[in-house]
Symmetry: C2
Subunit: 187 residues, 2 copies
């Protein structure tokens, strides 16, 4: 088995997902995942802290959100910043891997520990949006409220997108939800 | 020990809170709570399914939210319905028991099972708001978004209220948060 391959991470993710689907999350071990990917257990641990983490390519997400915020125009309003970050995050990171995300979502629903970790990941993402807004001078309470609202809007779109037929992009669904909320609150 | 007293529920709640604070949630048993309240274990189970439920006088909350919605004027807009229900719920149910809620909140934070149940209770409350909006003819997605946003706004106000000095009412803090969000989204 080669000790390093350029696609090791992707191979491990694919192998884990297949095994989780076939034999269940709890019954699958790290050595099984590594073997299926044609890699060593040691290589596995170079990429992931444990078998749960294989389900979350998402640890780079907060950093990505920070970058998207940093790249937004200086005169963007807080809601523009939220809109842009939802849109870019969806289009650049998630849209092309709908099938994988859908399959992961089914595994996550099957395991309480994974469900709990998902809540924490959601909180991390919302925290990244909040930090981005704070760094742009948005006051504390407004930043926290907008970040939590962004998480709501995004999460609802995510489940519509996963359950749907893939005809409509995640970012379209998310921005539709944001606009529905804005209209409802504008009355 | 008398088998029925008009204030049995309140006595059990007070006894449980004292014991949880003194010896910890995990170490406290139902017989201990009943004894401290001067009641039988059997009486305890007439009011609560288990010792966790003593922390949630809240099982009637969804029903209360439904009643508040039913009593709102026929021409109230969706956001007016949300505003009214947050305001009445805060003023009529929570404002007068800030000290108890603050003490309960500290116990809940100390126990993972209680934290999890709190998330479920939050979801029930959000569901009640959503149902109330649906019954008023608000479209499905808007109802779900507004209900989740109401939960965000309310929860943030709740922790500000608990951590604060009690000078400002919960409903004032919640409506302030709602207005901050409305203003940020209106831009």
């Amino acid at each position: 088995m080669s000790r390093w391959r350029p696609d090791a991470r992707e191979r491990l993710e694919a192998a884990a997902l297949e095994l989780f689907e076939r034999q269940g999350f709890a019954a699958t071990t790290v050595p099984q995942i590594a073997e299926r990917a044609g890699l060593t257990t040691r290589t596995f641990f170079r990429y992931f802290a444990d078998k749960r983490e294989v389900m979350y390519a998402g640890d780079q997400f907060p950093a990505l959100v920070a970058r998207i915020f940093a790249e937004a125009p200086a005169d963007a309003s807080p809601v523009d910043l939220v809109t842009t970050s939802i849109q870019r995050f969806s289009d650049e990171e998630l849209e092309h891997q709908r099938d994988t995300i859908r399959r992961r979502s089914a595994i996550i629903q099957s395991d309480p520990g994974l469900r709990e970790r998902s809540l924490r990941k959601r909180a991390d993402l919302s925290e990244a949006v909040r930090d981005g807004l704070l760094r742009r001078g948005v006051p504390d309470r407004t930043a926290a409220l907008l970040a939590d609202m962004a998480a709501t809007v995004f999460e609802m779109a995510l489940s519509e997108w996963i359950d749907g037929d893939g005809e409509r992009a995640l970012s379209v669904l998310a921005l539709e939800n944001l606009n529905l909320l804005r209209e409802a609150l504008a009355v």
